[in-house]
């Protein structure tokens, strides 16, 4: 993760560039591989399953069967959160959504992740870099992706599509940290 510090002056200059139609100067180096210069978000172009840290799994029954939500973030983000209790600028949360299978195995009734359904991606932006972009606000970028299109979000407006589900955890920066043991410390 590369964290770029924008000065107040730099921020103003960047806004000026947008107004002048030179949007590609806004934040080229903000979170490479995840956020483009104009604030477009993609599923991280890295092997996050192998190279990032797992935060935790939620199971969710929204009425159409039980799904798993498994969340990953950069290892640097974990280190920073453990030290400070907050997500650093540039933190990425990748939530994989899975259908599940179940069966009676030797340990009882068990369930596991089967097909990937899609991703929710959140990107921490402490600087308000992307102005009126409807995927950005409340300190984060927000985007959902179907499993077959990791580079093209279906999200049009985070306020109507994302925020309602996250509003109950505004006190923990809109993230469901209660289910993320990795943020609390090492396993042993």
């Amino acid at each position: 993760m590369r964290i770029v510090v924008f000065s107040a002056l730099g921020g103003l200059a960047a806004v000026a560039c947008v107004l002048m139609g030179a949007g590609n100067a806004v934040a080229d180096d903000f979170v490479p591989g995840v956020v483009s210069s104009n604030g477009t978000i993609t599923v991280p172009r890295v092997d996050y399953r192998k190279d990032w840290a797992f935060l935790g799994t939620y199971t969710a029954d929204g009425g159409k069967g039980i799904g798993f939500h498994s969340v990953y973030s950069q290892r640097e983000t974990v280190a920073h959160y453990r030290k400070t209790g907050v997500f650093p600028d540039g933190a990425v949360l990748v939530k994989e959504l899975y259908d599940t299978k179940s069966g009676d195995l030797t340990t009882g009734a068990v369930r596991w992740a089967s097909g990937l359904v899609g991703w929710f991606v959140m990107v921490k932006d402490s600087k308000g870099r992307f102005g009126e972009n409807l995927l950005w606000g409340d300190g984060w970028g927000w985007a959902f992706f179907k499993a077959d299109a990791p580079d093209k979000t279906t999200t049009k407006d985070y306020k109507t599509e994302c925020l309602a589900c996250h509003e109950p955890v505004r006190a923990t920066d809109l993230s469901y940290t209660q289910g993320y043991p990795t943020l609390k410390g090492p396993g042993r």
Copy 2:
């Protein structure tokens, strides 16, 4: 992960050392921080939550409430498995066992990991290093640990305490790989 290749001759020599009472020469460098020279297994003395790869979560209802089992392994093990379809010698599987909490949140009925109950640890041993040690056999070392004692296993004999639960997945080297998406490839 450091993978030590034992020659057939070296293996014989090591066995001879055990017979001569010089057991500390058997496998000092096999999996440092996890396996001692005489085959004692501990929960890995590393920050596996942050620095290793997550393989997948199972939920299990054994009659006393639903628990989560979340499994981690070394990133090198993931890379090797993806390439070859088998676990390398020295692969460590750390399965965290959690109690869970549940609630009706905005996405429906959800459940998440709460208190850590303990760990199952498996260590791949392709060489049969530890002879008659009752924690080793069928290609693995096996040990369970309660949450308050990561250095002292309660397991006495893997054949009676561990193997029955894993027998159904002997075809996948006694590991429940069907629930480990990370072994199949990157997320995108």
